[in-house]
């Protein structure tokens, strides 16, 4: 458990540092749309979906790697607080209100990458049943409250 904590600490640090590098390199759009945060969040949302599919039991990445990369790096790379705060600020400024609404909607709508992450499991018996059982185990492994 302590090992997991250390892995999240390291992974989170790396993710946050990557986000800071993006902030230093990528300029905001006119009106202040925080393009760097947008890129960080979209990349992390997509990659956490891909990584979660690779980290099922018997998958490419083990449980330590899962904690390091998903809870740690992707969690550190993405941020919710900057996203809502920037939206609030844009909405509060009459000149940027439209952009703020667009910003909110764009974040909102584009973060659905993980939705497509799990392909439907073909039901080909007897092999199909085995695949189905594996899929259920994957669901157990990824139980929602287990992972942040």
């Amino acid at each position: 458990m302590l090992k997991d904590g250390i892995l999240v600490f390291i992974g989170g640090g790396i993710g946050a540092a990557l986000r800071e590098l993006l902030m230093l390199v990528v300029a905001n759009l006119p009106g202040g749309f925080p393009m760097s945060i947008f890129i960080a969040n979209m990349t992390a949302a997509l990659l956490i979906g891909v990584l979660s599919s690779l980290t099922i039991p018997g998958g490419v990445i083990g449980s330590g790697g899962k904690v390091l990369l998903t809870t740690g790096t992707m969690g550190g790379l993405s941020t919710f607080s900057s996203f809502v705060w920037a939206t609030d600020q844009m909405l509060a400024n009459p000149a940027h209100r439209l952009l703020g609404a667009e910003h909110g909607c764009r974040f909102f709508a584009c973060g659905v990458g993980p939705l497509a992450r799990r392909p439907p499991v073909p039901d080909l018996s007897p092999c199909g049943n085995r695949l189905k059982r594996q899929s259920n185990r994957a669901d157990d492994f990824l139980s929602i409250n287990d992972r942040h």
Binding site: G13, E20, G32, A45, G49, F80, V84
Partner: protein
Amino acid sequence: MSDPVTVALVFVGGAGGSAIRRLVGKRVGERYKGITFPLGTLLISVSGAFLMGLLSTLFNVDWKDRYGSNLTALVLTGVLGGYTTFSTYQLDTANLYNSGTRGLAAFYWIGSVAAGLIAAALGAITAKLLG
């Protein structure tokens, strides 16, 4: 202030914030074990948004230029950025959707953003009341 210093501060803050996120998520997950709704992530999102509104206003930070000082790099970009997460929020939504609870997924998806926007605004109001 040089860029390497900023990046190092964000690394340290982000590492700490991520570790706190894991602890909060774990505690909430253990306490409400039977619940499929991602309460932990929601709590993290809302509390992080409140603190971002509060501290940004208290520090008097221009929201378009948050990498202005060592303190903002460490606390706002680092700790709060690492503490809150957008990726897990989206993954939770996807998991809820894939597990068949689509109404709950939609509620969580929209509710998190609405609650976050309100929490950040309340944070800013609280900061103004404080001084």
